[in-house]
């Protein structure tokens, strides 16, 4: 299981725009790099990232080989209710990873 790190405020005021930072460990092999024998190393990347806030999708990104290794993504959302942020990464060779954090709205 890939290591995923999430940075989001745990307690926020209602209606506040918060920044969410995500980082996941992944080599993001481009498929364009030759190995020592000259053959290209097969592509192995994360192709999709989805963030859901209490089940509702708030951010989605389609990733290409041009994304650096250990994909880092930050984005924003409006904190309007206490609940859970779910993060989901999926990619080549059946790669999937999930992570979630709780958020308290006052």
């Amino acid at each position: 299981m890939a290591r995923a790190l999430i940075n989001a405020p745990a307690k926020v005021k209602r209606g506040e725009v918060i920044e969410i930072k995500t980082l996941i460990s992944h080599i993001m092999e481009t498929g364009f790099r030759p190995d020592s024998t000259g053959k290209p190393v097969p592509r192995d990347i994360i192709t999709e990232f989805i963030c859901k806030y209490n089940g509702e999708e708030i951010f989605r990104a389609e990733l290409f080989p041009a994304i650096a290794a250990n994909p880092f993504l930050t984005f924003f959302t409006v904190a309007d209710e206490t609940g859970t942020l779910n993060f989901e990464w999926s990619g080549d060779n059946g790669f999937t990873a999930t992570q979630s954090v709780n958020i308290t709205v006052e």
Binding site: T30, F32, R33, P34, I58, A61, V78
Partner: protein, 162 residues
């Protein structure tokens, strides 16, 4: 030691000599090989057209933030932000980023909605060469806005396996 090592050294020496001899040829062959796997301004335009279709592409509203001089193309911080109130009626639906000379023109395609609050995201990208980067934002009213930045890359993201 000795006998096997001697053999090994000889082959290593021969290998080095051959490599040196080939370097001239490789100088011609390599750019060709790279060119095959590189996007071009045309393929970038095609990739943009895939998203935009026939709709007009306006300059403004969206801002692409990348350092102008990049030392290491393997992880380049990139931020795209867009002027928008992010309400149900007027928000940014998607932001796409393209490059001219990476192996593929597409870099990232992000989908947002009114729940985002602020139309902005950051990531780290790879850049294979000194080139132009283009961001295209799609608004909820169907209009497209764009911004482009020229960047200079001193150390390219690895393509040759180095």
């Amino acid at each position: 030691m000795t006998r096997d090592d001697g053999k090994l050294q000889r082959t290593r020496r021969r290998f080095l000599a051959e490599t040196a001899a080939l370097a001239g040829a490789a100088g011609i062959a390599l750019p060709l090989a790279v060119e095959q796997t590189s996007a071009t301004p045309e393929s970038m335009r095609a990739a943009i057209k895939n998203i935009v279709g026939e709709a007009p592409l306006n300059k403004g509203k969206v801002k692409l933030d990348v350092p102008a001089l990049i030392e290491n193309g393997n992880a380049v911080p990139l931020t795209v932000s867009c002027e928008s109130p992010m309400t149900q009626d007027d928000h940014v639906k998607a932001i796409h980023v393209f490059t001219e000379k990476n192996p593929q023109p597409n870099v990232i395609g992000a989908r947002l909605g009114p729940r985002a609050g602020r139309a902005s995201f950051s990531t780290r990208i790879r850049l294979a060469d000194t080139q132009k980067i283009v961001a295209v934002a799609q608004m909820s009213d169907g209009s497209f806005w764009t911004d482009e930045v020229e960047v200079v890359v001193t150390l390219a993201a690895c393509l040759e396996g180095s």
